[in-house]
Subunit: 292 residues, 4 copies
C-alpha cells in the first residue's frame, strides 16, 4: 500500500490474474463434480468408477475425487495429483486405488484432458465374452469401431483385477494407444477425451450403444455396424452440432431432479483446457483457492 | 373509439378473432410442449429426438422446438418454420439440425399434422439388424405390419448419419410413402400422425411393441403377429375408444409427478388442426402472440 | 321421533345397519382403488388394464372404475355393473370397453371375487410366441402350471382384439375354466381371485415369474419348473403365511412414496366378500352412499 | 448412594458398561435396519427376503426383523432368536416363516455374523436352469466360482418350497458348507458373511454379477470367468480397499433419497461383532434397552 502507484497497479493486476485463475479452477471443480454426478445418474457408474480432468493450469497435474461414490462427489472433494498419481499434498482423506488409470493416460497422451473409468452394466456382456464393440447408431460412433481390448492377466497374471500399480496403468495406456476408449476384459471400460463434457458424452453414448448392441446380439440377427466413413463422420457430431450443449443441459437437469445437484448447472463449459496452456505467472506460490 | 358504432363492433370482432387465433396457438404450443415432455418421460426420447406439429393456422408452416432436450421443452421454445425448414424469422437461439425430417414429411403428406423423430432404445435391436417390426399385441398395431426401412447410406453414401439436407429429408419422406412409421436403419424411427396426441400414442405404443417383439425374438419362439385384418382394425383403437384420452391423462400426470410439467395438463386436445383449415382473416399481419 | 320408544330403537338399528353396509362399501372402494394403483405402480398395468371386484353386498353386481388409468383411480371412480356388464345407473362418465372380461367371469365363477386384466410387459414374449407359462420359483406357483391360452381369432376371426362383446367375454371365461389365470395370445392376461388382495398378489407374482422365465429362456438352458405337487403347495403360500399382509403393506407404502396414494393404506382388508353373503336387509332401497 | 465411595465408583462403572452394551445394540439394530433397506432399495429384495445378524453380545442368538418387507424395517422391528430359531421372548407380532435359514447357518458356522436370504431377479434365470454362477468381473468374485446349488426337493420331496423346518434349514446349511453363497434352485439365494456391511456388499455385487452373466449368456459368447487366483484375490477387495466404506455411504444416501431412511447413515460400522466376544458382565439381567 505504501508502494508506488505503478507497483500498486501491478499488484492489482496480479491479484486479478490470480483471482481469474482461481475462479477458473473453482469452475473446473464444479464442472468435474457435475460430470461425476451425471455419469452416476445416467447409470454409467455406481459406487465404483470416476471421472478426472487434467489440471486447468498445469498439464503435469490432474484432479480426481477422494474415495467417494461419484454421485456424491462435490467440488471440494478433488485431490490434485501429479502424473505419477501421487497427491501433490498428502490428503487427510482416503483415495481411490485405481488412480494410475488416469495418471498414466495423461502422461502418455498430452491431448487427453479428461478420463472416465467405469463398469457400466451395458458393457459387461461384451467384456465377459470378449465381444468387439461396434457402433450400431450414429451416437455410438463416439466409441469407434472395435476399440482395443486389454486384459490385465496377459501381462500381470493373477491379480485382484484392480489397476493400482504404475506399470499396470502404463500397460493400459499402451493398449489404449491413439484410441479414445479401451475395453478392460472382465473388468470395465476407460474412456479418454479432450474435455470433461466430451468425456461424459462419450461415456454415456458408448454405453447406450453397447446396450443396443447386446440386445441386437441377443436376437441373433447380423449386426449392421456403421461403416468406417460413417463412424469417422458421426464421431464429430459432438463437436459440430449443438448436441453436446443440449445433452449437458438435459443431464444437469436430471441430476437436479434426482436431488443430486447442489449447484445449478453452469451455462457454459469451464474455461477450455489445453495441455499447451501457458503456465500461470506465479507457479511457485499458487493462490490459496487452488489447493485445500 | 371516435369511430361509428358499426366500426367499433367490427373492430371488436377482429380483435376477438385475433385473440381466438392467438389462444388456439397458445394452446397448441402448450400441448406440443407437453407432447415433447411425455415422450421423454416415457423413455422414447432422451436428449435427442423431437416432436413437431403443423402450424394450426397455416398448413405451410410447422412448429419445432429450438435445440433443447424434449424433456425441457416449454411452450415458448417453439420456432415457426416454413416447409423448406427455414425459420420464418431468424431465431436468436440454436436450432435442431435434423428439422428437414419434419419439413419434408409435412410437404409430402398434407394430412400429417404431427411428426416425432426418436432413437428409442426399444427399437435399436431391430434397427441394428434390419429386423422387420410386426405388431405382437393390439396396441402395437399402430405401427403397422413391416413398416418401411430407410438407410441413409443407400442414396447418400458415407454421412454423419444426421438427416440435415433437404434431399435427405425428401428421401426419407419418400421411404415413408403412405405409411405412418419409417424405420431408419442404424439410426432411429420417424412417426407421422394426424394429431399431436396421436403422434405421442403411436410413438409410445410402437416402442412398447418393439420392446416386446425384441424380447420374444430373444427367447427364440416363432412370433405370432397380428393378422393384416386385425392390424387394420386394432390400429383404429385410438380413434374409436376412450383409450387416447385415458393415456393422455395418465402420461400427463406422470410428467407432473416426475416434476417436469409447469403447466397443468389441458383437459381437452388443442383445437383440431386441419391442413385445409381456412386461413386466418389477417394473414399479412399475424397477431404478435403468434411469433416471438 | 313421536313414535314409541321401541320403534325409535328399531329405527336407530336400521340406520346403524345401513351405515355399516355403507362403511363396508366405502372401505371396499378404497381397497379396490389402492389395488388399481398398486398394480400400476408395480409395472403390471400402464394406461390400459383394470382391477375389479364383485360387489360386497350383491353378488350379481361388480365394481369397475370409469375409463381411467389405474394409477389414477380413486374410490369415487367406480361404477356399479350388473353381470351383463351394463351399468346399474347410466353414468355421466366414459366407461372401459373391455368390461365384459370381468362380467362374464363373475357370471361363470361364483367363487371369483376379483378380476384383473392387464398387458404386463413381462408376459408379452410368452403371449407373442404362445410359450407356456411355468412356475420357476415358489411365488410363481400362483399362476399354475401351463395355464390355458385363449386366442380371440380362433372363434371370432379378425377383430380389433378388444374383448368388448358379451360372447367374446363368455368365450374367454370358458377358456379360463376352473383355472385362475388365462393367457390371451397376442393381447394380455386375465387373472381371477377370491379377494382383491389375492388378485393383486397373483397379478404381481405371476408377472415376476413370467419375467424370470423369459430371461431363463433367453439364456437357453432347460427350465426346471416346480413339480405339480410343489405348485399346488406353494400356491397356498398366500393363504397360509403372513406374506400377503407383508406384501400389501410394502406395495401400499411404495404407492405412497411414488406420490400416488391420497388415502393412507387400510390396516386390514376390507370386509371379506362372499358370493353367498346374505343380502342386506333393505335390498330395494340401497343406501345412497352405495351409488354415485 | 449411601454405600462407600468404592462401591459407588463400581456402580457407576457397571452402569457405564451396561450403557455401552446397550448403545452397541442400538447401533447394531440401526445398522441392520439400514442393511435391510439398502438391499431392498438396490433391487435385491422386494417384499420377501431378509437380512439378519448374530447378536453383538451373545453368539448364541441372532436378530431378525418381524414379518415385514425389508424396505420398511426399523431398528425396533428386530426380534431376538436363539439358534433354534425360537424367539427369546414370545413376540406379539408376526414372524418370518423362513428364519431357520438364518439360525441353522449361525449354528453351523461360528464365523458367520450376518446372513441375507433373497430372490433377486438377477439370479432367477440361473436358479431356474441350474446354471452355475461364475464371476465375470472383479466385484463378482465375492460370490466365488460355481458356489454350491441346493434343491429342497432332493431331500424333502414336494413342499411349498419355503425353508421352515429345522431340518430344512440344516440341510441348506450343509449345502453351504464352507462357502459364502448357496444357490437355492427354483427358489432364491442365501449369502453368509462376517459382518452386516459385508453381507450387503456380497448380496448386491453377486446380484450385479449374476445380471451381467445372464446377459452374457443371452448373447451366446463363451464366458471368460475370473481365474481361481483372481477370484481369490479380488474377493478380498472389500477388506483391503476403501470400497466398502464408499459403497455404504453411496447406498445409504440412495436410501435417504428414496425417502426410506429416517435415521441418517452411521459414519462408521457398528461395533465389530465376534463370535468369541466376551459375554457381558450381567448376562442374567440384561439392560432394558436390549429387549423390547
Amino acid at each position: 500500500m505504501r508502494d508506488s502507484n505503478h507497483r500498486r497497479v501491478a499488484n492489482v493486476g496480479a491479484i486479478q490474474g490470480e483471482t481469474s485463475v482461481a475462479n477458473s479452477l473453482i469452475e473446473a471443480r464444479r464442472e468435474l463434480s457435475l460430470a461425476n454426478r451425471i455419469v452416476a445418474n445416467e447409470g454409467v457408474i455406481d459406487a465404483f468408477g470416476h471421472v478426472s480432468m487434467r489440471h486447468p493450469d498445469n498439464p503435469r497435474r490432474y484432479l480426481l475425487s477422494r474415495s467417494r461414490a461419484p454421485e456424491l462427489v462435490a467440488p471440494e472433494d478433488f485431490i490434485e495429483y501429479g502424473l505419477d498419481s501421487q497427491p501433490v499434498r498428502e490428503p487427510s482423506v482416503t483415495q481411490y486405488s485405481e488412480r494410475v488409470i488416469h495418471g498414466e493416460i495423461y502422461k502418455a497422451r498430452p491431448e487427453v484432458m479428461s478420463v472416465c473409468h467405469h463398469h457400466c452394466a451395458a458393457f459387461m456382456p461384451l467384456l465377459a465374452t470378449g465381444t468387439d464393440y461396434v457402433p450400431v447408431f450414429h451416437l455410438g460412433a463416439i466409441g469407434g469401431i472395435k476399440p482395443p481390448f486389454w486384459d490385465q492377466h496377459d501381462e500381470f497374471g493373477d491379480t485382484n483385477m484392480l489397476v493400482c500399480k504404475l506399470e499396470e496403468g502404463a500397460s493400459l495406456a499402451r493398449a489404449l494407444g491413439p484410441h479414445w476408449m479401451v475395453l478392460m476384459k472382465r473388468h470395465g471400460v476407460t474412456v479418454a477425451c479432450t474435455s470433461v463434457r466430451d468425456c461424459v458424452f462419450r461415456s454415456v453414448y458408448s454405453a447406450r450403444n453397447a446396450e443396443y448392441q447386446v440386445q441386437a446380439l441377443a436376437i441373433g440377427g447380423a449386426i449392421a455396424s456403421l461403416s468406417p466413413g460413417e463412424t469417422q463422420l458421426a464421431s464429430q457430431i459432438v463437436a459440430t452440432t449443438t448436441g453436446l450443449t443440449r445433452s449437458w443441459e438435459y443431464w444437469s437437469m436430471r441430476v437436479a431432479k434426482a436431488g443430486g445437484a447442489a449447484a445449478k448447472p453452469a451455462n457454459k463449459p469451464a474455461k477450455p483446457v489445453r495441455a499447451t496452456s501457458k503456465p500461470t505467472s506465479k507457479p511457485k506460490r499458487a493462490p490459496k483457492a487452488r489447493r485445500r
